[in-house]
Subunit: 339 residues, 4 copies
């Protein structure tokens, strides 16, 4: 932490700041410059709460150097984490993983059909929502536990592990019985109690980036899970909220190389929620792969035009098959490119 | 809902869209223009999910007219809702309400001191956090249930109702025993399960706006609570996330008159979290009152420079006393101005 | 400037950075911490370009302490600047100034009528646009020089100085002949050549904040003008671009106390462009005054429903008169409050 | 345009709106629904200014269907535009074009060296800034006309056309003499006078997206140029401003397929300004190509660590050479993929 003093800060003010830092058990190192004095804060083991300092007389600005995460940081754990989900491995050096399926589970048959289509095209993990976070309470909220059972049965029938979103702590037990990976949705990325609870499990977690979460906050959210003992965390970029309304969200692909550099956790991309438009999904999926994503999550529905949720951004089975073929070719190409 | 067709959309495409709308049980009214056809969707009772339509061939854009909320809308319920919290009334025509206290409850003594200071200065509701949502897991997370008890005791000792944040469903029972109003924090504004559960209570709720929530989403979140039967909801603007980093968040005061126009629920403003800087709190509090806020929520700590959390944005007792004096004078002035 | 090295940065890397700093003629002071080394950069006289350093091996982050402005900073020039426009003074300790008039100049008669109404209600400066920046080329672009003459004549007829936007350097001469203050619009806030040219004049400038300009960039834009010798600059907050679409822009009122703290230049607020809605203008104008604005700029049209531009955000004469009465009462009230 | 009336709008209010529409020479078609009436506006030939309507009594919302651009729209001009710059063709079906060179022109020798390196690696167009838009006036502002001459000479020496930014109208003549393509920078995207002037030339224009410009505004800016008669416009995505500060801007790659769909103009991507970090440039360049960009613009400096401007985001000659090799392989791969 660096404390920048005002131009006209007095010696007494500088001394008071130094003492406030030392009262926190840290070392304060004044650095006098030509125009102002800055005070370096040393010996901290991580992020320092600056509350006691930021508004002291003479302080102009407090600049944080330490990050609010450490366990998920590549700085301290250089080796890449590989997360295994029902036999499928996700992370550095592994094959690109495709998670696909309908936005919401609607019927046993729909789910089974979708599962067969995902499997036939070469998908690796089946997705489907039983509990749906919807902006308003009057929209379809998902089938709940009945849906979970359809998903689980469909996964078993075709031999694919399944991932589904969990929205409340009480659901953890039942969802863990039926799923192979738990998704924490964008709206719950800072639902810290939920993060702590899934951190206590030995279970793979798919953590989606919050709509307006910085990369720092995204990694700090993952830190909540890992700090409880569960390091089986896969991160997922799904678009951020900006002024641009031509797409549902703005897909931030730079986050892929950045996360790969800052963290040892795998990072995948969801182009369906990012764009909100089916015809943009394949092109942004391709771009995400080239940016280095360890996997993709896309919405595929047997009949998108009849979907109860997010049909407009769901691929149909033909479109998904084509995307899978491309994915494999891109993967091969990238392997050649790396040589 | 209005469906705008492409310039070159064929008659067959227009017909297919019409049929898709009718399949949803709604009426479709084509409006041929000089450059393109638009199709009005009628007879819907609220927000229509456009998934089945948005990506049909020939569709250029789908424009929503209905909102994802209705019960909280002034359109349908013109009379203002007054929310009562332990004898204190919040809403149109009532006195401006001041909620104040420390960011987090630290000790029995700190809480009691703060309570006496809030009461002495004329504050109406005592705040204090027992469960703290912090960006990273390594920061102070609050005292939990012990803290709740200190808060409750302090409120009783000085005769003030108390408000505190609740972060998980299992805490609802215990928090309701010790508090008079439950706060749903910005990070949980779209934790829909939590919203539904507090909707089942007959208890006042303070709902903070999410960091990147539109007004529409903010009201739709309130709709979740009201739809379950609890209309004792007070909304709270606390700044939104923008590119500007000179303040912690960007206080969006236009939301105050807008919410007053769109909804019958009361709206208050939290200038402490919005600005993140103690010296900006009084000036933005004044501006919020002039914008028509039904109340304010500010952080006040007996010794801000020793606070475990958010000390830099907390007023000290003197500053709070001064703010309370101003608040009353502004209130009187606004009453005169309205004559 | 502070250069933060990576956790594992080698001594050789630290040395190389130190040398790169010294090659810029600056002093480098390594500050070894428990987890990493930081390097303080000293003896710089202002903002340092970090290009040569930011991507050197071992560098994790470069943190700027100096700002890209100095002349407009209160740090170095504590005394407030008062800008005089045709006898009207704007700044600390002066009366709140009201600039008002139509978005665009339409006819001689419209302008004269507007001028009389602004004058009669007690407005101080007359505004009107002759050259209009419009998103698309097919919208009304203003009357140009003919409009300027109507504006100038109307101002003279009623005895009010006039302000109008200038969009290109070649217009400076002619506009200076007809106006008393030049407005640089939000879209041109970083049209640096235009800034430099108006900086060479001895003429009052109204500089509007760019749609996505940080406060730092806003002040750096003003620095361009002042650096050329013209310190007659008034800043104007007019809303920033955010994800929220319920208002045209998001009015950022915190900027008012912040600018007053950081700079000696006056700051006014334009609630018309910020909200885009006539009925929100008076309430946000009141809030802006309470936030400490030195003045307001509002759109007023004799017949807003017939306006060629921005009619929806223009007050009508009655509404303007009411706002002026309020403004005076608020001003008196604030003077009392300060006692 | 669709005008949505309030729930309780009276028949008289609906009639008044209908008449206001007709007064604009347009047709108004009321569409009564179960909850409210909407009024369709027909027979307009483009974007309608809603000023006279938006705040009429009983109006809740005005929704625009027409866009503020038409000439640049693929809707009306389905055939792709190919822009030729000194023999290099940019657009659909052409080879991907690489524009590269230093951020700013520093010396004759630096420019010539850079030109040779760009040419040797297979680059197509040489870039270099003679007039530099810098946030603050105290940073290096470019060599001006001397720089232009170095650029022009270097281009001729190696046989590459050159592109450079123009910031003011008076520079157009001289810059056209020395350059083969004019760049309008992000800060000038809505400098409408400059757009109009370059629209009068028969000269290729590179138009960069404004920092907070929507796609609609970006295309409307291009419309300004095309409306004056110059359709030799290449669009350039260079990152938008968001809350995320880990990258200089947020690269919005979805804009590439969207622009290709909405417009007939070519679209290229600048990953250097978007990320601000050299090591992210190659990976985002690859992603941009996969997203369908018609070209790239990257900063390359013979010795980035000595650059006077933006060195941290400039590739060195080795890095550029590697990128060019990749680009060709990606291009071949994409051609195969399309089969």
């Amino acid at each position: 932490m660096l404390i920048v003093m005002h131009h006209q800060a007095t010696d007494a003010q500088i001394l008071a700041v130094k003492q406030a830092v030392e009262a926190l058990g840290l070392r304060a190192e004044p650095i006098p410059g030509s125009m102002r004095t800055a005070i370096g804060v040393l010996d901290n083991q991580g992020y320092v709460d600056d509350s006691a300092i930021r508004e002291l007389p003479g302080v102009r600005e407090v600049i944080h150097v330490s990050k609010p995460y450490k366990l998920v940081s590549r700085d301290f754990h250089p080796r890449a984490t590989i997360v295994e989900v029902g036999g499928v491995k996700i992370g550095d050096g592994e094959k690109v993983v495709m998670m696909a399926g309908p936005c919401s589970i609607e019927t046993e048959e729909q789910m089974l059909t979708a599962a067969r289509q995902v499997k036939a095209a070469g998908g690796h993990i089946l997705r489907g929502g039983a509990f749906k976070p919807r902006t308003g309470p009057h929209s379809f909220q998902g089938l709940g536990i009945a849906g979970l059972k359809y998903l689980s049965a469909a996964g078993k029938a075709v031999g694919l592990p399944v991932v589904t979103e969990v929205m409340r702590i009480e659901q953890l037990d039942i969802v863990c019985q039926h799923a192979d990976m738990l998704q924490i949705g964008a709206r719950n990325m800072q639902n810290f109690d939920l993060l702590k609870e899934v951190g206590k499990l030995d279970f793979p977690i798919l953590l989606k980036r919050g709509m307006s979460a910085t990369i720092e906050e995204f990694l700090a959210a993952a830190e909540y899970i890992v700090a409880e003992g569960n390091n089986r965390v896969v991160l997922c970029e799904r678009g951020i909220r900006t002024f641009e309304k031509a797409t549902r969200n703005t897909l931030d692909l730079s986050v892929v190389p950045l996360i790969r550099e800052l963290s040892h956790l795998p990072i995948i991309v969801d182009p369906s929620h990012a764009t909100g438009k089916r015809h943009l999904v394949p092109v942004m999926a391709r771009a995400a792969l080239m940016a280095g994503a360890h996997g993709l999550m896309v919405e595929m529905h047997p009949e998108p035009e009849k979907a109860l949720c997010d049909g407009a951004q769901s691929l149909d089975p033909k479109g998904f098959e084509k995307l899978m073929l491309e994915l494999r070719r891109i993967e091969d190409f990238m392997a050649e490119l790396a040589v």
